[in-house]
Every structure is written in structure tokens, then in C-alpha cells.
């Protein structure tokens, strides 16, 4: 959710010459998603999932390009994109560690997991390690409460966490992840 309509695009970056919406991304969306919906706009979520997967974040320029591609205004794209937590407007580390903080996880020791992350990686939720390997977030219920405390690392769920073992597991991850964000 994001009901605070802050200007998260303020650090508009210089436009780069090659487009974010490459011909490959466009044809993927055109072929796979446009036929599914009566309106192109409905392909907005699939499009931005693809952009996130490809670049790890959403550059302001990608929002501009998406508006043209989907045939809606930039404001409409921005309005939608900024609403969703998974669409991040800032680059993050190679591994995004989303630690669940909702009730079942708090009951089962989410705090210890979070403290361990702070201790081992020296970052607070929202921050990225200096080597760009990890970004830490606290998120709401991941729908895996029977495995509390749990965390989503990129696309993979890790459940029944033992803080120390989880930290070691993260440290042992290769520098380049196999799955996207």
C-alpha cells in the first residue's frame, strides 16, 4: 500500500539513450499479456513485474516509457506503480531480504531474526549493505504463518528461521542470485 502521495521520483535521473522497455520486453508483453485483457492498461502489473525482474527497480524513465506503451498518461502509471510495495523506485541489493513482522511471526520470534540481521549485516530495515549484496525490509504477513518466523529472500521463502542459521545461509549465497527480485 502507499497512501502517502510523496514525490518518490524527485531524483529524476538523466534519461539514458537505450530504452528500459526493450523490444524484447515489449513483444513479451504484447504477445503474452495484451490478448488477456480488454484494455492494455491491465497489463500494467505484468509489465512492471517484468521491469522489476529485469532491472531490480523501476527507473523514472521506465514510467515514462510505460505510459506511451500502455496508452495512458504518465500520471496514471505513476499513480498505480507507487501504490504497490513490490515495485521499488530505488535500486536495491542483489538479495532483498523481506522479514515478516506480522502477528504470528512476532509471536514466534521475528525480533530475534531482525536483530540478527542488524548485527550480522550492519543494516536497518530499508538499508543496503555496502557491497550491495543485501537489502533488508520488514514486511507484513507473507502467508506462511505456519512457518513463522519467516522471510522471503528474492523469490524464495525461508521458514521456521533460526536467526544464526539464517544469517549463515544468507552469507553463503553466491554473489549473483539465480532468481530475480
Amino acid at each position: 500500500m502507499a497512501w502517502i502521495v510523496e514525490d518518490r521520483l524527485k531524483q529524476y535521473q538523466p534519461t539514458r539513450s537505450e530504452p528500459y522497455l526493450t523490444a524484447e520486453i515489449k513483444s513479451h508483453i504484447e504477445q503474452k499479456y495484451f490478448p488477456r485483457y480488454p484494455r492494455k492498461q491491465a497489463a500494467l502489473l505484468p509489465l512492471f513485474h517484468t521491469i522489476m525482474h529485469t532491472y531490480g527497480y523501476i527507473a523514472p524513465q521506465a514510467i515514462d516509457e510505460a505510459a506511451g506503451f500502455l496508452g495512458i498518461s504518465r500520471a496514471e502509471v505513476q499513480d498505480a506503480v507507487t501504490f504497490y510495495e513490490e515495485f521499488r523506485l530505488q535500486p536495491s541489493g542483489k538479495y532483498v531480504v523481506n522479514v515478516c513482522r506480522s502477528i504470528s511471526c512476532e509471536l514466534c520470534g521475528h525480533q530475534a531474526v531482525l536483530d540478527k540481521m542488524r548485527e550480522v549485516f550492519g543494516i536497518e530495515p530499508g538499508e543496503t549493505t555496502d557491497d550491495d549484496k543485501f537489502t533488508l525490509f520488514e514486511v507484513e504477513c507473507l502467508g506462511a504463518c505456519e512457518q513463522a518466523p519467516c522471510a522471503l529472500v528474492n523469490e524464495d521463502l525461508h521458514g521456521c528461521l533460526n536467526p544464526q542459521a539464517f544469517a549463515s545461509q544468507l552469507q553463503a549465497l553466491p554473489d549473483h542470485p539465480a532468481t530475480g527480485h
Binding site: 500500500m1 497512501w3 502517502i4 488477456r36 485483457y37 480488454p38 484494455r39 492498461q41 491491465a42 497489463a43 500494467l44 502489473l45 505484468p46 512492471f48 513485474h49 500502455l70 495512458i72 496514471e76 499513480d79 498505480a80 507507487t82 501504490f83 504497490y84 510495495e85 513490490e86 515495485f87 523481506n98 513482522r101 506480522s102 502477528i103 504470528s104 512476532e106 509471536l107 514466534c108 514486511v139 507484513e140 504477513c141 507473507l142 502467508g143 506462511a144 504463518c145 505456519e146 512457518q147 513463522a148 522471503l152 523469490e155 524464495d156 521463502l157 532468481t179
Partner: protein, 438 residues
């Protein structure tokens, strides 16, 4: 009441080591898609009547009768859509994930039956973004089902080609609210719509739309196969059928268990979930945090759609039971719940947007030791003021916050009052300290 054994979970072994994804061939070898064939030999009206007779009520939280909902669709208006609600973001809820992770075809068969009965043109499975693995499982299951001609072909007896797609959300609880879901499906922010018009009249892309929960749809093949009387032989007069219960929190064996509606929470916890861990039972949430809390003397509450009236909670919700003990800090738990609502409020309605944020601040202050006696009444007042039932907000998210706060305060007042200091002693300085603390 007679529950002979798992229905929805019959293909999923109890032993975690034996659980595996069931592909379409295995599904068909165990009777899968027989019900669809059977349904296609019936008329749509007969199927809808059967679903009405079965007394199947929605498993997504509100418990609305499924067949009656279908009947709201206007006649002969096409295209029409089915939106499958697989957003499952209510804390304490993971049943739809568990079912679909192992037996995705039962959901697809349910969708195909609902589509046949309602002459649906396109079905969208709206799955929350965090369910990466489950989205892939569903995509694969859909591929298999397309290959067998379950989707992408004319609905028998009509010119309507029915397609089914997975549509991934992107991290927003409010997209589980049915009209928030539709907005999100259309590529907009998930702001719930003001009703009427209801989705059955003008839903997705302004066309007639049915929204059903995953588990609701997964019941359909079994209702077709065994009939309405069989379905009603389980559960209670108002609450028919088998039900998936998620149990999490302080129990030895958290997980998804199937039983008939109306079983006692104590039975669920002791017989299935391995009993309470690390203390004595003190409180539990019956069905996701929106429903409020059950008190210490309500351990034996029957888990069915009457639970709201009988035990002073909002309702059965998603039947995701969250267990707390005598060692749990209930003030901290309420803070957790209220923070969730404050974070997930979409912000359209002032009582919800401001109220949840305000209550979160107050609870932070109370937990930090700077609560004042008047905070108790103030929390209650703010809580009670919000929701679609007092009529101050567009959707039910605010009712969830309302019921969480009111039931915690009503059932466990001493926990809160013990934390509240007198305003008079410290007066103004207290406010300054409190402000610094939160």
C-alpha cells in the same frame, strides 16, 4: 455433524515428507475432472441450484452464500468475468496457498465448473505477488489443463470460449478486498470502489463479474460429485461443509487442517495442532486479525459462521486461528495488528487512514510506558468510529481495525489499564516524554 475425513485435502498426505505437487494425470487418475464432465451434462440453472442447496458459503472471509452471489449476474450480458481471489494477505491465513501448492488442479476444476455454470468468458486468478512459487505452480497447472482442453475451448452448448489466466498482485493487502482487486486487475492502484454498482453488475472492465475465494471454488467439484445433502451432512445448520483451518502462533504443530465447520477451537488446537506451546491458553484470533480476539473463557468456541454473534467477534473470517498464551503481551499484539491496518489502509477514507495511524501511535506510546488513563476510552472511541458498519468508510478494512481494538479492550481491559499511568502526576511533561519515545 459427520466428518469422515479430509475432502479438499484428500490428495495431500499429513506427512510433510510425502507431500508433493499433484500433476493433472495424477489428479485425473484419482477422479479429477469427473465433476466437470458431470456438470457439463447439467444445465447452468441446475448447477446454481445445487450450489444454493448445498448452502456453500464464501470461504474468503465474509461467508456470503455462493449460489446467491452467482444469481446476481444479469441475464444475457456478455462478456462476464470470474475473478478468483487468491490475494490471501490477512495475517494468520495460508490455507489457499497450502491447498494450491500441492493440488492446484482442484482449483482449476472449480473454476471451470463456475465458468460453465455462469457462462464466464474469462477467469483471472488474482494471486498475491509474494506467492512466487505458487504462481509458477499455477501457470504450469494451467498449461496442463489447456493441453487437455479444459480451458481455451468453447463452453459446451455455447459460442463462449473460456480462458483462464494468472494475474499477479504486487504487495498490497487491500487488493484482497473484492473491488480493490478489480481495480488492481485493471492496472490501477487497488482502491476499493464505492458500491453500488456491485461487481455482479459492473465489475472488472465494467462488465458483470463474480469474485470468489480459492477455497470456495475448490469445494465445487466435491459438491457436484457427492451432492448437496452430503455437503450439508458436515458442519452445522448455518455453516455447511468441510473447511480448511490454518493454525499458527504458539502451538506445537502449526499448519493447515481440515475439519467440518463448527468444531471447537480447543479441539482444533489439541487434536490437530499439537496443543499450546510454552504456556497456557489465554487468547486467540479466530480467523485472521480482522475478526478480533476470543477471550480466555472462549477456548471452546465453535468455529462456524455464527461465531460472531455467539462470541462477540466480527466473524469466522478466513478461519486462520492465531494462538496466544498467558505469557503473550497482548498490548504488543494489538499494536502489531493496528500497525498492520495503518500500513495497509489505502487512504481513501479519513476515519480509516487517520484513525488507524492515530491508534498505532497511541499503542506505541502505551507500550513505551507513557500511556494515560484516558487512552483506554480514546482508543475505544477511535476504533468504534471506523468501518463500513458504522458507515464511515468504503470498505471492510476499517471494520477489521475496529473489531481488533474493541475486542482486545473489552476482553482484556486489565492488560491495558495496568500500562496506563495517571495523567495528573506528570501532566504536560508526560506528553513531551511520550512524543520523544514514539
Amino acid at each position: 455433524m459427520a466428518f469422515a475425513g479430509p475432502v479438499l485435502l484428500k490428495r495431500i498426505p499429513d506427512d510433510p515428507a510425502k507431500r508433493k505437487l499433484i500433476n493433472i494425470d495424477e489428479y485425473m487418475a484419482t477422479g479429477g475432472y469427473e465433476s466437470l464432465r458431470k456438470a457439463q451434462a447439467m444445465t447452468p440453472e441446475q448447477i446454481i441450484q445445487l450450489v444454493i442447496d448445498s448452502n456453500l458459503r464464501g470461504r474468503g472471509g465474509a461467508g456470503f452464500p455462493c449460489g446467491s452471489k452467482w444469481k446476481f449476474l444479469p441475464k444475457d450480458l456478455h462478456p462476464r468475468y470470474l475473478a478468483v481471489n487468491f490475494d490471501e494477505s490477512e495475517p494468520g491465513t495460508f490455507k489457499d496457498r497450502y491447498l494450491t501448492e500441492y493440488d492446484p488442479q482442484v482449483l482449476l476444476e472449480g473454476i471451470a465448473i463456475a465458468a460453465f455454470a455462469n457462462r464466464i468468458t474469462t477467469s483471472y486468478i488474482y494471486i498475491r505477488g509474494e506467492y512466487h512459487l505458487q504462481a509458477k505452480i499455477l501457470e504450469k497447472a494451467l498449461e496442463e489443463a489447456y493441453a487437455k482442453g479444459i480451458f481455451g475451448q468453447k463452453i459446451p452448448g455455447t459460442e463462449i470460449v473460456h480462458n483462464c489466466y494468472v494475474h499477479r498482485g504486487a504487495g498490497a493487502y487491500i487488493c484482497g478486498e473484492e473491488t480493490g482487486l478489480l481495480e488492481s486487475l485493471e492496472g490501477k492502484r487497488g482502491w476499493p470502489r464505492i458500491k453500488p454498482p456491485f461487481p455482479a453488475i459492473a465489475g472488472a472492465f465494467a462488465k458483470p463479474t463474480i469474485i470468489n475465494n480459492v477455497e470456495t471454488l475448490a469445494c465445487l467439484p466435491y459438491i457436484i460429485e457427492y451432492g448437496a445433502d452430503w455437503f450439508k451432512s458436515m458442519g452445522t445448520a448455518s455453516s455447511a461443509g468441510p473447511k480448511l483451518f490454518g493454525v499458527s502462533g504458539l502451538v506445537h504443530k502449526p499448519g493447515v487442517y481440515e475439519e467440518e465447520l463448527g468444531i471447537k477451537m480447543s479441539t482444533l488446537i489439541e487434536k490437530y495442532a499439537g496443543g499450546i506451546k510454552g504456556g497456557k491458553y489465554r487468547a486467540a484470533i479466530p480467523g485472521g486479525v480482522s475478526m478480533g480476539v476470543l477471550g480466555t473463557d472462549q477456548y471452546d468456541a465453535e468455529l462456524d459462521f455464527d461465531i460472531g454473534k455467539k462470541y462477540n467477534v466480527l466473524g469466522l473470517g478466513t478461519a486462520g486461528v492465531i494462538v496466544m498464551t498467558d505469557k503473550t503481551d497482548l498490548v504488543v499484539m494489538l499494536r502489531n495488528i493496528v500497525r498492520f491496518f495503518a500500513h495497509e489502509s489505502c487512504g481513501q477514507c479519513t476515519p480509516c487512514r487517520e484513525g488507524t495511524a492515530w491508534m498505532h501511535k497511541m499503542l506505541n506510546r502505551i507500550v513505551a510506558g507513557y500511556g494515560k488513563p484516558r487512552d483506554f476510552d480514546l482508543l475505544m472511541e477511535v476504533g468504534l468510529s471506523m468501518g463500513s458498519m458504522p458507515g464511515t468508510t468504503i470498505c471492510g478494512l476499517a471494520d477489521g481495525a475496529n473489531w481488533a481494538v474493541r475486542t482486545f479492550l473489552e476482553k482484556f481491559p486489565e492488560d491495558f489499564k495496568a500500562r496506563l499511568k495517571s495523567d495528573h502526576v506528570q501532566g504536560v511533561t508526560l506528553d513531551a516524554q511520550a512524543a520523544a519515545a514514539v
